[in-house]
């Protein structure tokens, strides 16, 4: 007992010794009245800036408070206010020091001081201290009178508990500032990109923004959209303002980009309503953003959106109220579907409860695989503020439970605008870090996945009289490769002879269902195109342009295929005599010549070409690989060519316009010698497959 009394006395003594409050009272500064007056003016100015609700001018007030604090560091009020200001600016982690000062100077200054001490320790990831302060604060709340505050502190405690668990197993990542070509001393955030991250757009509040004016509330430049790319180098080009009509004198923020970069969605405040507008690209020119229809833009706030890779669905965030329950201010994820007939968005559905928590969701991003979404949420097992989560749509349409991406991607502060490139390894996020260029910066996050274990080996003489040791089976690490299961096809569509870029229509067909599943257009000025091919389908691709023969490609992307990026420049051939193309989506059964049903779309395309060019005479030729007997192959290829001709005749094309020929293995695209030099079996098989083909050639027109 004596000990307790002694400790208490010593504690009180130490508090009084080190933490004696000095209020802003002129009686306390008799010897330096002038400086006091100046500091008092700063304080008054700062307090005024904190008045406007619900948006106090924290950033501006902070500068005045810091000046006042410089004069009188022992004002509990000033320290407390500085803490509040820091808590509401990017440098949140500085708040704790000032709340601690305030508490030491006057523990009873404000009833919420333990809450804010909790916030300070929470942001510093000092979980136990944060929980202690939150618990103390909770003990002072009458839950019947202030349920909201009670619920809030409970949520904070849960966040700390999540944080404790998440930081125990940090995820393996590299986080790198994107560099001075992209970032400036001013805020950059909200990066969006093409599927393969070769071109990016982001929002910045740097000098030189359109109108070059500052927002009166934040004293920062108005938002503008900037862009950069790495088409010709692995380094980013210097950030460039995209200009009008995307950027205006007001705030202009990019929120979404289609995977091929042909469409952009921007956020426009619309006097607080918050709506989404779409702009279309033509070369380097963007159309004037057009407000998305009412299905998307409700009378409530919409702030974020992302296209699916086929462009047929749009995920977006809205504050619209639920019919049955929920807070009208609760931001949730919705999905709209493109109505082909009406040519508008419709059929809006809210994602299920396991995705939309009772807290806010924001920053939706749809991965190019079409089934994985990344979003930020204040709910689930967030460790504080918004955390980034990932969820996957199952085959049956249900969603996996969201998975917290973990520390250090997530922190106790807000973590939003997280986008992942098609390869599943490169991600990008907005973050404020002390090593940044100033304000929020854009960072590249390299997702290293699970630890890669080394391979070691031993050797044994399993047989007593063997002369060579038998190597113990090398067990390869059982690592589930976390990369994306998809293929990105990109390149340029050009004229076969002049190599000039062509604006061509690109049709994506699911060969199993014989349905066109998406349509794209190559860029009119650069000819550039990009198509995302999620795993699990056999894709037929047709590239068409007026006065040109169509070009067809076939890609079988397995369900479990690992990520692959294929560059394919497509040279379209004019409809001229002697020109030939390979029909890559005509299929036959093995060693047979009956056409498989999935050939139909390609055959109809060919039929259409002949109808549109009535003078055209063509040769259909069959080719095989070099395996099997020459005689059999020749006969097979001839019969296959004939089957195509028969189909065309059946569709009404005159027989005298069609010639068929079987060349067997006589005209390989890849010779046996070339194939023999290939080291991988998969490359060899691909070469053989290239040789097995059906071609058509223009004989006359």
């Amino acid at each position: 007992m004596k000990k307790i009394v002694l400790i208490s006395v010593l504690s009180l003594f130490s508090i009084s010794l080190f933490a004696q409050e000095v209020t802003f009272d002129k009686k306390n500064f008799k010897d330096n009245k002038k400086e006091f007056k100046e500091a008092e003016d700063h304080l008054k100015m700062a307090d005024e800036l904190m008045m406007p609700m619900p948006f106090p001018r924290y950033g501006q007030a902070l500068n005045y408070y810091l000046k006042a604090q410089e004069f009188n560091p022992k004002s509990a009020h000033v320290n407390y206010q500085i803490g509040l200001c820091y808590l509401n600016t990017p440098q949140k982690f500085k708040a704790l020091e000032y709340f601690q000062n305030a508490f030491q100077l006057n523990a009873n200054l404000h009833p919420d001081i333990h809450y804010f001490l909790g916030r300070g320790f929470h942001l510093k990831m000092d979980w136990d201290k944060a929980i202690n302060h939150y618990e103390t604060h909770k003990g002072r709340i009458d839950s019947k009178k202030d349920l909201e505050a009670y619920m809030d502190v409970n949520k904070r405690i849960l966040e700390c508990q999540s944080g404790k668990q998440l930081v125990k197993n940090p995820v393996r990542v590299w986080i790198d500032n994107m560099g001075k070509q992209i970032n400036s001393a001013y805020p950059e955030y909200g990066m969006v990109m093409t599927a393969n991250a070769s071109e990016i757009f982001f929002t910045s509040r740097r000098p030189g923004s359109t109108g070059d004016e500052r927002d009166e509330f934040s004293d920062e430049y108005f938002e503008d959209v900037y862009t950069s790319n790495r088409y010709t180098s692995k380094d980013w080009t210097p950030a460039r303002n995209v200009g009008a009509p995307i950027n205006t004198k007001g705030h202009d923020a990019v929120v979404s980009l289609s995977p091929d970069g042909s469409k952009m969605i921007v956020y426009i405040d619309d006097k607080g309503d918050g709506n989404l507008y779409e702009s279309l690209r033509d070369g380097d020119t963007w159309s004037k953003p057009k407000k998305l229809n009412d299905a998307i833009c409700s009378e409530y706030h919409e702030a974020s959106a992302w296209y699916t890779p086929d462009g047929r669905q749009l995920y977006f965030i809205s504050e619209r109220p639920l019919v049955k329950k929920g807070d009208p201010k609760d931001r949730d994820i919705y999905v709209a579907t493109w109505n082909e007939e009406k040519e508008e968005w419709g059929n809006v559905e809210r994602l299920p409860e396991n995705i939309n928590s009772k807290y806010d969701e924001d920053g939706i991003y749809v991965h190019p695989d079409g089934k994985t979404i990344y979003f930020s949420s204040k709910g689930h097992n967030s460790m504080g503020g918004y955390d980034v989560f990932k969820a996957v749509k199952n085959e049956d349409g249900t969603w996996s439970d969201p998975e917290n991406l973990g520390y250090p991607i997530n922190t106790p502060d807000h973590d939003v605008f997280f986008v992942v490139a098609a390869n599943g390894r490169d991600a990008y996020m907005t973050s404020f870090r002390e090593d940044g260029f100033g304000g929020n910066d854009l960072y590249k996050v390299t997702l290293l996945g699970e630890k890669k274990d080394p391979i070691l080996s031993g050797e044994d003489m399993l047989l007593a009289n063997a002369t060579i040791a038998i190597r113990a089976v090398q067990i390869e690490p059982k690592v589930e490769v976390s990369g994306s299961k998809l293929m990105i096809l990109r390149g340029v569509v050009r004229d076969d002879e002049s190599k000039s870029p062509i604006a061509a229509d690109i049709e994506l067909v699911d060969n199993e269902t014989n349905k066109v599943i998406a349509e794209f257009t190559s860029d009119s000025k650069s000819g550039r195109y990009l198509v995302s091919l999620p795993g699990g389908k056999n894709y037929g691709i047709a590239v068409k342009a007026t006065d040109y023969l169509f070009h067809s490609e076939n890609f079988d992307v397995k369900q479990d295929a690992s990520y692959k990026e294929v560059e394919l420049n497509i040279d379209l051939k004019k409809v001229n005599v002697g020109k030939s193309i390979v029909l890559k989506n005509i299929f036959f059964d093995l060693s047979k010549y009956s056409l498989r049903p999935e050939s139909e779309i390609e055959l109809n395309r060919l039929t259409q070409l002949l109808i549109e060019n009535p003078g055209l005479k063509i040769e259909i030729s069959g080719h095989t690989d070099s395996r099997g007997s020459a005689a059999f192959n020749k006969e097979l290829s001839k019969n296959r060519a004939k089957a195509v001709v028969d189909y065309l005749v059946e569709k009404g094309i005159k027989k005298d316009r069609l010639v068929f020929a079987g060349y067997g293995m006589e005209q390989p695209i890849k010779t046996d010698a070339e194939i023999a030099k290939m080291s991988r079996r998969s490359d060899k098989e691909a070469a053989h497959q290239q040789n097995r083909r059906t071609e058509f050639k223009v004989l006359s027109k």
Binding site: P454, A464, R471, P477, V481, K564
Partner: protein
């Protein structure tokens, strides 16, 4: 005919197995001269025969063949002349002639089993495993108590991955000779590969007891325990193998592997480095050192040692794989991609996955 067979066996007693050629694995047999008239064979034939053996001793194989043929011509049933002719063909590297001669011997005497055994070994030399098995089986049909025939056949079944059948043959061997340590060891290995771990342990232990001068069985026992994740037992078994032969670098390497898997990285490193001293060209140990440094997160060292492994064995896919991981962690991503590509080409499947997921195609291009 039965007399001839007895005579052959008796005569073989006088044969001296002079050399066992490692290079061609062909037994070279030198026969002593026989006493003229001692066998009841025509004296002229015996004379030719003796001249043949003298020529053989002088490595004048052409003359030996000529004389043996002469002896056979005079006395077509002169078995040992046929036999010596076969071995002389072998010595003269006329393998096909030797085969013909051994085959002829099997038909001359329907009880003869040794020629089938020789035919089996010749078939093995030509990698004709199925044929070799057929010959050993024929030898066994004619002589069920010769452990060599079962043993050789068992090894072939083992090599074919037919471990259950191999076990049957090795079991015959130990039935015939319960002290055959090699057969116990090999049966243990066959049991191990069929997942009969307890039986494998029993056989390796028995083999180790029977042959106290060889660390082979202890090493195999250690590896078995290591694969069962019984690292302490594994290390003890390797200890015994090393105690028997301090220069057994395979046991040092394997003990290091067991220590690595147990998480004793410095001790593992020490064992692997010992292997470097004992067998400086043994690539696997360098790669294993790289693996230890990986766990210690000393990536520069991983690169150094996996490179040393590659310098010694350019086909060691695991070394490219390990170096790729280290290069990735050192942020030499282009080099990492090149190594993953090499590792994938050498059959490390997961390396191909990493090559694609890390967008290596783009990195290397740019």
């Amino acid at each position: 005919m039965r007399n001839l067979q007895s005579f052959l066996l008796l005569f073989c007693f006088f044969f001296i197995l002079s050399t066992y050629g490692q290079e061609d694995s062909v037994k070279i047999v030198v026969a002593n001269n026989v006493e003229i008239d001692s066998t009841g064979v025509d004296p002229e034939a015996q004379k030719a025969y003796n001249e043949g053996t003298t020529a053989f001793e002088n490595k004048n194989y052409a003359e030996a063949i000529k004389q043996f043929k002469k002896a056979i011509e005079i006395s077509p049933d002169f078995i040992i002349a046929h036999s010596n002719l076969a071995y002389t063909y072998l010595s003269d590297k006329k393998v096909e002639m030797a085969e013909q001669q051994f085959l002829h011997l099997t038909t001359m005497d329907e009880t003869a089993h040794l020629p089938f055994y020789e035919l089996g070994t010749l078939a093995e030399l030509k990698d004709s495993t199925d044929l070799a098995i057929k010959y050993y089986s024929s030898a066994i049909d004619r002589m069920k108590s010769d452990k060599r025939y079962y043993y050789q056949r068992g090894i072939l079944y083992f090599k074919l991955g037919q471990y259950e059948t191999a076990v049957e043959d090795f079991s015959k061997v130990v039935l015939i000779d319960p002290k055959d340590a090699d057969a116990y060891n090999d049966r243990g290995s066959a049991y191990k590969l069929t997942g009969k771990i307890d039986k494998a342990i029993a056989d390796y232990t028995k083999a180790a007891e029977l042959n106290k001068k060889s660390g082979l069985a202890y090493n195999n026992l250690g590896s078995l325990y290591r694969e069962q994740k019984e690292y302490d037992r594994a290390i003890k078994a390797y200890d015994k193998a090393i105690l028997i032969d301090q220069n057994n670098y395979l046991a040092w390497n394997n003990r290091g592997f067991a220590k690595f898997e147990k998480g004793e990285y410095p001790a593992a490193l020490s064992d692997f480095k010992r292997v470097n001293l004992l067998s400086p060209d043994y690539a696997i140990a360098y790669n294993n050192i790289a693996g230890v440094y990986m766990e210690m997160e000393e990536y520069e060292n991983v690169v150094t040692y996996s490179t040393k492994a590659i310098e010694r064995d350019e086909n060691l896919g695991a070394a490219y794989y390990n170096r790729a991981i280290a290069n990735e962690m050192l942020r030499n991503e282009v080099q990492a991609c090149k190594d993953w590509s090499q590792a994938a080409d050498l059959g490390i499947r997961i390396a191909e996955e990493y090559y694609t997921t890390n967008s290596c195609g783009n990195l290397i291009e740019k």
